[in-house]
Symmetry: C3
C-alpha cells in the first residue's frame, strides 16, 4: 500500500460497554461512513451490550483513567472511596448525560441509528451471546451473528483495523 | 492494498492481564492461525503476566465497563462499594471460571498452549520485564525478548495490527 | 501490501490518560519516529489530557487489570477496598514514579518532548476540547485541532493504525 492510498474500508472490534467508551466506535463508524468508507463493527465481550434494544449505559468513574469527571465545566477529582459509594456512579452518569445534552452531542442511540442508516455492517459475537446468555429478542434487529473468524475475514479486507 | 486482498499476517500488542481481557488476544491469535495467517503477539505492561508459567488470573469487576457480571445466567449489577469489598473479586472470578467451564469455553492456559502449537510468534517486552522485575524462570519457555522496535517491525509487515 | 513491505507511517488514536497508559503511545511514537516512520497521534477523550502543559498523571490502581502494583520489586496485590481508600492511589502513583526513576525509564514529559522533536504530528480532538471544557492556554503549543475525520484521513494513509 502506497502511503498515499486512500482507505476504502474500516473494521472495528468493539469490546467496551460503558457510556463513555461507547462513543469512540460509533463516532468513528458514522464519520468513516460519511466519508464513503465501507465500515464493519464486530461487537464482542462487554461491547455486545451496545446492540441491546434498551441501552441503559453508565459511565465508569472507576474506569476513567484520568480519575476525574468533567462536570458542568468543573473537573472534579473523585477520591476512589467516594466514587465507590452506591449512587455516585448514577450521579456521575446523569451529570455526563446532562453535559452531553448541553453540548449538543448526539446520544449513543442516535449515533447507532445513524450508523445503521449509513449501512454500517454490524456483527454480534455468537460466543459472547452464549456466554452472557443474551437473548436475540433483547437485541436490535439488523446485526448478524458471527465469530472471531468473521472479524478476521472482515479485517483482512480492510485498510483500517481498530480494536476498541 | 486492494480491498479484496487477503491478509497473510496479523500482529497484536497485548497490554492487559485480567481473566476477561486475556481472552480476546488468544481467541484472535488461535483463530487467525487456524485460518492460515502468520500471527505475532507482543506482550507488554500488564499483558506480560500472561506469559507466566503459573497463571492466576482474576476478573476485574471494577474494570468491567458494563459494571455487571454475568453470573450463572443472572446479570448482577454490583454497586461499586460491594465490588470493592475484599473477597468479592475472588467470588466474581470463581463464578466467571465456573461459567467458562459450564459453557465449554477453553481456559486461557489451553488457548495459550494452542497458540504455541500453531506456531504463533510470541515476544516478551524487555522493558516491562525490567520494570516489573519479572524473572525468566517464572515465564513459559518459547517467547523471545524484544522491545517496541520489534513490535513496529512486526506490525510493518502485517496486514492486520491490533492494540489490545 | 506484500507481507515484506515496510511501513512508512503509523497513526494512533490516544484515548487513555493515566500514568501507566500514557507510556505505550509515547514509547511507540518515539520508537517508530526513530525508525524513520512518519507518526501521527490523535488525542481524544481522556487521552487529550496528555497534551496539557502541566501533567499531573496518576496511576490507576483500579484500572490495573492485574490488580497488583509492582512496588520496588515486590508485587503487592491490593484488595480493592484498600486501593479505594483516599491516598492509596497517590501512594501507588509516587511509588510508580520512584520505580520509573530508579529503572531509568524516561518520564512522560520527556517522551512527549522527544516526540515533538522527532516531528511526530499531534492532533487535539476539538469535540473533546469542547466537551471537557479544556482551554487552549492550558495545552502545549504545537498540536493542531481536528475531528474524527482528521483521524480517518491520517489512518487511511498509514500502514500501521492503533487505537490505544
Amino acid at each position: 500500500m502506497s502511503s498515499q492510498a486512500n482507505a476504502t474500508s474500516m473494521s472495528m472490534i468493539v469490546t467496551k460497554g460503558t457510556l463513555d467508551w461507547a462513543y469512540p466506535p460509533f463516532i468513528l463508524a458514522t464519520t468513516a461512513a460519511a466519508m464513503g468508507l465501507e465500515v464493519n463493527m464486530f461487537f464482542t465481550f462487554y461491547g455486545l451490550g451496545l446492540l441491546k434494544k434498551d441501552l441503559n449505559l453508565k459511565i465508569s468513574t472507576l474506569g476513567n483513567p484520568a480519575m476525574e469527571m468533567p462536570m458542568m465545566g468543573m473537573h472534579m477529582a473523585l477520591p476512589n472511596i467516594v466514587s465507590a459509594l452506591p449512587g455516585v456512579d448514577g450521579l456521575a452518569t446523569s451529570m455526563m448525560k446532562d453535559l452531553i445534552k448541553k453540548k449538543g452531542v448526539a446520544s449513543i442511540e442516535e449515533l447507532r441509528e445513524l450508523a445503521i442508516e449509513a449501512e454500517v455492517k454490524m456483527v454480534a459475537c455468537q460466543m459472547t451471546m452464549d456466554l452472557f446468555e443474551y437473548k436475540m429478542e433483547d437485541m436490535i434487529a439488523g446485526p448478524e451473528l458471527g465469530g472471531a473468524a468473521t472479524f478476521i475475514e472482515m479485517a483482512s479486507k480492510s485498510d483500517i483495523n481498530l480494536y476498541i
